[in-house]
Amino acid sequence: MAEELFNESVSELSRLMAQGSLSSVDLMRAVIARTKAVDPRIRAFNSFDEADALAQARASDERRAEAKASGSGGPPRPLEGIPIGMKDVISVAGQPLTASSQILAGFISPYDATATRKLKEAGAICWGRLNLDEFAMGSSTENSAFGTTSNPWDLERVPGGSSGGSAAAVAAGEAIASLGSDTGGSIRQPAALCSVVGMKPSYGRVSRYGLIAFASSLDQIGPFARSVEDAATVLGVISGHDPRDSTSLKIDVPDYNRGIADFVKAGRRWKLGVPKEYFGDGLDPEVGAAVQAAIDEYRRMGCEIREVSLPHTKYAVGAYYIIATAECSSNLARFDGVRYGHRSAAATDAVDLYFKSRAEGFGPEVKRRIILGTYVLSSGYYDAYYLRAQKVRTLIRRDFLEAYKEVDAIVTPTSPTPAFKKGEKAANPLAMYLNDIYTIGVNLAGLPGISLPCGFTKSGLPIGLQVIGQPFRETELLAVARGYEERTHWRERRPKL
């Protein structure tokens, strides 16, 4: 039995549209109908613009018809007619951009992010505004000012975060693929908790222009999809140097899917590192067992498994919460009630306008992080906190580069636990932060990382496997992930909704 359209892969839908048996408008209608049916329960979207999405789909069908009529066919654009959900921190011209914050309620993007522009040029339909933890600060989507997203596998539980809406939408058939952003695990952790593929590219691979900045030295945009192949297709579209982001690197963008196929054809046997520090206290036994089974599967594929050590792992969360909050306190200074965003009606003078607009506009987690970041940068504390954290960052990065002298990639759990219940960690920020213990080091080191489904708990909650690659070796990373995916069937399961 074939999948419902809204649950199909990018590759299969592209094939159906290329052979003329499916139009983009019909696909978009199916996705809209699905979204209307399930989103009242999932709440993955902050908003969606049905008329705009259908207009984009019609334009796609017209492009396809024109190319056919003129015979100037050539290969179609890589995402022609495919609805891609957009995390509500990525600008789409003319659409709302809220970062799930009251301070940006009503804001309309005046321009496209570079990732958005590239999706549109590739024929994709930019679909809806997906929920997140306010300003991407959180691991559960509970910090959204507009309501919590539910995990499609268990509506009582969180989808992870901060890109919880992006993960839940793909898992629930409300988008064919989606974009998220990942500062400390915000793509990989929700991907693991919702049983989809989620990838953070190397820092500098994808332009951050038009992405609302949280921590500029850590943020990257990346894809969610239902297969490694689909994730590679979307990543290929959004990758590349951009003069508007001076930290995006001028290096070639390979054809990821061709590269994956070449590695598979060559029967490459990878050397994979298993860091002992990622399998200690705090790891849920069912998650540990599923990841161990995945490692065994790699061994059966002929891969060489080596224990490696990343000795500074236990310091990653501490270093991260200094660096990320320091950067956020600086980035979020722009929300001052003057040029855009919420302006307090109660302000008595210009300076009071800042205090009151920010107090009224930001939610508690954002305030906490701005306070912490301001503190670690303040006079008398800079060296003890911020500078020390930057030095620890160097050591964390060195650990990875040292391991890569021995192995091609590193395999770990993505998250120490499966999806937790809503409210369970909401009052305890530190417990929430520790949820990102396996994903944060990757951001500090600027590495590419991917999470893919590797099993379920007895109670039916998804478990994710994280594969961490070498800088700018996304093709190898994707090929390692694809090797496992090809031999297992976890990704074929769908939540009952």
Binding site: F107, Y340, F362, P364, R368, I371, Y385, L430, G446
Partner: protein, 96 residues
């Protein structure tokens, strides 16, 4: 490393230009105290002679040719303004 109780919330909130309620001050002091206690383990790390990392892949001196390009129109730049007049942002009186 400083102690968690060194965090003077009124002072830092003033630097950050955020007014906090008493309830928020109480809650944040406790929650950030936990976080700062946790962060204190960074003291165990020997960082002597270690260079700080600001970016994983530092790129320096990114030059671009100085060519004027179309930018946001005044109308687009002002579209999200909370208050505007005569192609300008309106703010409360700054100078008496």
């Amino acid at each position: 490393m400083p102690k968690p109780e060194d965090l003077k919330l009124d002072h830092v909130a003033n630097l950050a230009r955020i007014s906090l309620t008493n309830e928020e001050k109480e809650r944040f002091t406790a929650q950030l105290g936990d976080v700062l206690n946790y962060i204190a383990q960074l003291n165990e790390v020997n960082v002597d002679g270690v260079e700080p990392t600001a970016h994983a892949f530092p790129v320096v001196n990114v030059w671009a040719p100085d060519i004027p390009e179309p930018a946001l129109s005044v109308e687009d730049a002002l579209r999200n303004a909370p208050e505007k007049r005569d192609n300008m942002f309106v703010v409360p009186k700054v100078v008496e």
